[in-house]
């Protein structure tokens, strides 16, 4: 066996976290602590880039597989990546260092504990995206809750406890059912190995129940309407870095889960429940867009817009078409970059003025010009302007949806109009207009580290908008094979 690159990716952040655990948490150590965390996450990022380079795009087989016995005859620790998972791993390793750099101003207390939570989170997330055993997947999937729960509960705003519990209850509720489903799968087939299951297939009569159980977990985490109400609260209370992690990575686990497990293991049930997903998606797109229009809190607005964007994702996945699924993955990557950036943008002004309310601001374009430019860019990406990554995903999804169902596509497309309205209105109220609140005059433009991280997010947003080929090439074969298998399963039953 070669160098266990995936296990290294999973474990490295934890090793960094362990190191931090044994460092004394003192004010003067803060810089060292930060550099240790940053160094760890950067090594991980470069390792994942190396993984991407080694990755063979011409096959849909899982690569870099590691298979170790964990509990004899029951669970194997099995990891591997294909074109779908590798992009999410990259997104995770890319966002984590950005998060770590961004803690400068926002986290004042218990820095080292915070960074431990972030690094542990990275471990779990990478674990989710490359585990090939259902039990291992479940463990990582659920474990991801804990650091996030702590981040909101400890470093959050005034209503942090309420939000943390709401977040925890919602997500746990769905997950319990998924655990039941995984156990059932073990009883039905005798294995929890994903590759085995994928080849074996699951009897059609069990699929509906299993699909629903997985769905209940994924729907909450996506979040889909009507189980989305935890997200705005969680975002509002979470510290900036927490919101970034939550929006950029945590929400993607469910989308990934839908593609990997719902489509992969339960094709017949997926086909049955497609109308359900379609209706929930378009309701999410329209309802939450309208709600976003009326928000007074910047973070809440962006949180609601996230729900709408994830609505496009679920819609695209269940079109079961090349364009739709590719669009969904690009939309998830793009949303990861853009929502992370938007939350960072809110964080920038929050650190200076300690208010997230839109009405506090206005007329700051000349005071903070650099900030205004970058915020504009991400606003445009969020409303899906061609030339940004947001457009490519949305366009492909809508194109695929249109092939499948005119009505759904028309309604979803309507969301694009409201999307433009609420984003531009937000921008106008924050940045343009007359300067009314004179305290704003004291605001300082982006400092070097803020400028750096926002630029880091801006570059791929624009690059993939003009040239999404690197993304599409990575996922193309995996998705076309997934669709082939899906259709074979569907017709044979």
């Amino acid at each position: 066996m070669n160098f266990p690159i995936l296990s290294s990716l999973i474990l490295l952040p934890s090793i960094g976290a362990l190191f931090l655990f044994f460092t004394k948490s003192k004010q003067e150590n803060n810089i060292t602590i930060k550099y240790v965390a940053l160094f760890t996450s950067l090594v991980n990022f470069f390792l994942s880039i190396y993984l991407w380079i080694l990755f063979d795009q011409s096959t849909s087989e899982f690569q870099f597989i590691e298979d170790r016995i964990w509990i004899e005859g029951l669970v194997n620790y099995k990891v591997g990546v294909d074109g779908i998972s590798i992009l999410f791993i990259l997104l995770t390793t890319f966002i984590t260092p950005i998060c770590i750099i961004s803690v400068n101003n926002s986290i004042k207390t218990r820095l080292s504990e915070f960074l431990i939570a972030v690094l542990i989170m990275e471990t779990f997330m990478i674990g989710v995206f490359c585990s090939l055993d259902l039990i291992v997947f479940y463990l990582f999937f659920e474990a991801g809750l804990i650091p996030m729960f702590l981040i909101i509960g400890i470093w959050g705003g005034s209503r942090r406890v309420y939000s943390a519990f709401k977040f925890f209850l919602f997500t746990l509720l769905g997950s319990v059912l998924m655990l039941v489903a995984i156990i059932s799968i073990y009883w039905i087939t005798g294995t929890t190995d994903f590759i085995h299951l994928y080849e074996l297939g699951i009897d059609a009569k069990y699929q509906n129940f299993l699909w629903l159980a997985f769905f209940s977990s994924f729907a909450v985490k996506t979040p889909m309407w009507p189980v989305h109400t935890w997200l705005p609260d969680a975002h509002v209370e979470a510290p900036t870095a927490g919101s970034v992690l939550l929006a950029a990575i945590l929400l993607k686990m469910a989308g990934y889960g839908f593609i990997r497990f719902s489509l992969g293991l339960f094709p017949i049930a997926s086909d049955t429940f497609t109308p359900l997903i379609y209706s929930m998606s378009v309701i999410a797109i329209i309802f939450t867009s309208f709600i976003a229009l009326m928000q007074e809190d910047m973070k809440k607005l962006i949180a609601y817009s996230s729900v709408a964007h994830m609505g496009y994702v679920t819609l695209g996945i269940f079109t079961i078409q090349q364009q739709g699924i590719e669009g969904s993955i690009i939309q998830m990557i793009s949303h990861g970059l853009v929502s992370a950036a938007l939350f960072l943008c809110v964080g920038v002004v929050y650190d200076r003025m300690h208010s997230r309310l839109i009405e506090t601001y206005g007329g700051i374009v000349t005071i903070v010009p650099k900030y205004a430019v970058l915020f504009m860019l991400f606003t445009l990406a969020a409303l899906g302007l061609p030339g940004t990554s947001g457009f490519v995903g949305e366009f492909l999804i809508l194109m695929a949806a249109f092939k499948d169902n005119f009505l759904v596509a028309v309604i979803a497309c309507f969301g694009v109009i409201i999307g433009a309205a609420y984003m531009l209105w937000l921008y106008k109220r924050v940045i343009f207009g007359k300067l009314v609140n004179l305290d704003l005059k004291q605001m300082i433009d982006l400092n070097k580290s803020e400028l750096f991280i926002l630029s880091c997010l801006a570059v791929p947003t624009l690059f993939f908008g003009f040239y999404p080929e690197p993304l599409i090439n990575t996922i193309e074969v995996s998705i076309s094979d997934l669709i082939k298998v899906y259709n074979v399963n569907l017709t044979s039953n």
Partner: protein, 637 residues
């Protein structure tokens, strides 16, 4: 060389946008103007090649999106149609760049302004030179974005910000239709490249499909959806409300974006898609009707407006209506011809009005002007040329293009064509009246401005007058010089070479003589009428307005479209959003969901708490009760 036509404005925009502070105001102005001018010269060379050597090309620059069967390239298609557009866009743009150096001389954000102008030029060039619908859409939204930036350029003005958002969102409504059109094309043909789609069109002539419960012919549906996009961008009736408000932007912007180039993109789209539209009688009729309604509507509103820029904005709206009904009657080349000449004289009028506004130190109300024609001789003369060209005074450019539209509508022979030509003639008369009203009220009569003295008004600097002068040459000669090329006998085959497709060749008959001279006669007669009304007997228009108060208010308030949309769309949307949030999310989902459950659990546990009182006799009593219940159960069983 071809690619540099597109690339130069982009480079200019990047230089001015990112390094504007570094290189200074003057340098960014010079660099952007220079690069765009070079691009204009190159476009002229390309057009020359197209005319003389029948040059055509389809350059693929790079792959953009390739997903499954969808293949979209960054590309540059050069044929007669795009070559014309390249020349129109780059030449007007370069003149506007130069003009802006003078016009924006007191503005603190010059590099940013120049960067937006160049970026706009880039997006517009991407739009016109695309070889597929998706790149067209890129340019389409790109120009919308730049228009948003430029309308809201004076970001401190609340009205400017509102107008900017309105422009973007209303355009998005159009784009919504446009995007659906693209999806439908991909659904039916599996490709979005023009040439492939156009080839496949005849194969689906009889194909019907059910769309939202209504059965459509598929070609009709494509055409209508694409036309919704065109209506948004070209400010046609129902989606026109953003254009007058867009006048909040600096005047050079109005000239470039909201007169000469961006707003004509819709016309360009219909002409580009002539191979599709030719198969859809229904869509063509609808375009004719919308076009002529817009032409008439906008002209009536322009009659009573008092803001100099708004009058010209409505005039643009109206002229775009002409172009649309030209395409509606199948005279695509005539529509392009009017687009071409209109670009010159409308840009001239806008830049001229900018010069007037400049002279009056940012006064835009024509009631506060007057009597300054001697003070602003060049502006006055150039504005007269623009007005003559616009109204279709014989032998100026508008005469050739506009009259041709009315003639072709007449010759089309069907009902909508006849109506359109009738409306076209009436609108031409109205156009002439409101245009001369503008001239007379601005330059003649008494001096009415209370803020600044007449001595303080001044002629604009050379850097502003030279572009005006160049445009006026276009406004005078463009019609005469290019008439044969654009709409002459056999031009469809000689010049357009397949970029315009016709099922039936255009009629080559001539309308009767009385019809031919009717419009020019009306136009000429309207000059003394306008002079009488607005200079000699100024009380008469007031009396007319007084007598017809409801009609006057109706026109003054632009047929109440804004109020209507506000009450049936904007307010309900906000209320709907509030309702969904406060009631649905908070009351229903959270109320019955997490909050409700937690309250329920709390209540239950409160009850349970009472059980654990700590008194032994209570516990014993409960035990006794339980024991006897169990015993009873066992006995009964």
């Amino acid at each position: 060389m071809e690619i540099s036509i597109i690339a130069l404005p982009l480079i200019a925009s990047i230089i001015a946008g990112f390094f504007g502070k570094l290189i200074g105001d003057r340098n960014s102005e010079i660099i952007t103007s220079l690069l765009v001018t070079v691009s204009a010269i190159l476009s002229a060379i390309v057009l020359y090649e197209v005319i003389i050597n029948q040059y055509q090309d389809n350059i693929i620059i790079a792959t953009w999106i390739s997903s499954g069967t969808l293949e979209v390239n960054w590309s540059m298609k050069i044929d007669s149609l795009s070559a014309i557009m390249l020349v129109v866009v780059t030449s007007v743009s370069s003149l506007v760049h130069i003009y802006s150096i003078g016009y924006m001389s007191h503005d603190p954000h010059k590099p940013r302004f120049m960067a937006y102008l160049s970026l706009f030029t880039f997006a517009m060039l991407m739009l016109v030179s695309s070889d597929n619908f998706v790149q067209l859409f890129f340019g389409w939204e790109g120009v919308g974005l730049c228009s948003y930036f430029l309308i809201g350029f004076w970001f401190k003005k609340e009205s400017a910000n509102k107008a900017a958002i309105k422009a973007f969102v209303v355009n998005r409504v159009g784009d919504f239709g446009f995007a659906l059109g693209i999806f439908l094309i991909f659904y039916l043909f599996g490709t979005v490249n023009y040439s492939e789609v156009f080839e496949l069109i005849p194969t689906i002539v009889d194909k019907n499909l059910i769309f939202l419960g209504i059965e459509f012919n598929s070609i009709d549906l494509i055409c209508l959806l694409l036309f919704i996009g065109a209506m948004g961008k070209s400010a046609q009736l129902l989606l026109h409300t953003w254009l007058p408000d867009a006048m909040e932007g600096p005047t050079p912007v109005s000239a470039l974006i909201h007169a000469a180039t961006m707003v004509t993109a819709g016309v360009f789209l219909v002409v580009r898609c002539s191979p599709i539209y030719e198969y859809s009688e229904l869509a063509l009729n609808i375009i004719t009707i919308i076009g002529m309604s817009t032409a008439f509507f906008a002209a009536t509103v322009a009659l009573v407006q008092t803001d100099i820029k708004k009058i010209i904005a409505y005039s643009t709206c109206s002229q775009l209506g002409y172009m649309f009904f030209a395409t509606g009657v199948g005279a695509y080349n005539v529509a392009m011809f009017h687009l071409f000449t209109h670009a010159f004289f409308k840009a001239l009028l806008f830049l001229g009005s900018g010069s007037v506004i400049h002279a009056f130190k940012d006064e835009q109300n024509i009631n506060n002007m007057g009597g300054v024609w001697k003070k602003l001789p060049y502006t006055y003369g150039l504005m007269i040329i623009g007005t003559l060209a616009l109204t279709g005074f014989p032998f100026l450019s508008g005469f050739y293009s506009k009259d041709a539209i009315i003639e072709f509508a007449y010759l089309k022979g069907n009902t909508s064509g006849l109506y359109a030509s009738g409306i076209g003639i009436i609108t031409a008369l109205l156009t002439s009246i409101y245009s001369w009203r503008l001239i007379f009220k601005t330059f003649h009569g008494d001096y009415n401005n209370k803020k600044i003295k007449i001595e303080e008004t001044h002629e604009s600097p050379l850097v502003m007058l030279i572009p005006l002068f160049l445009l006026s040459i276009g406004a005078i000669f463009a019609g005469y010089l290019f008439k044969e090329l654009f709409i002459g006998y056999g031009s469809i085959n000689n010049f357009w070479q397949g970029s315009i497709f016709l099922i039936k060749p255009l009629s080559t008959e001539h309308p009767p003589l009385w019809f031919l001279i009717l419009t020019p006669v009306l136009v000429i007669l309207s000059i003394p009428i306008a002079y009488y009304l607005f200079v000699k007997n100024k009380n008469l228009p007031k009396q007319i307005a007084e007598v017809n108060k409801p009609l006057y208010n109706f026109l003054l308030n632009k047929w109440y479209f804004d109020e209507l949309y506000d009450s049936i769309i904007v307010k309900p949307s906000k209320n709907f959003g509030l309702f969904l949030w406060k009631f649905f999310d908070i009351r229903l989902i959270d109320g019955f969901g997490p909050d409700g459950i937690s309250i329920l659990i709390k209540k239950i546990s409160l009850k349970a708490k009472k059980f654990q009182s700590g008194f032994i006799y209570q516990y014993a009593f409960v035990m006794l009760l339980g024991f006897s219940a169990l015993l009873t159960f066992l006995i009964v069983k």
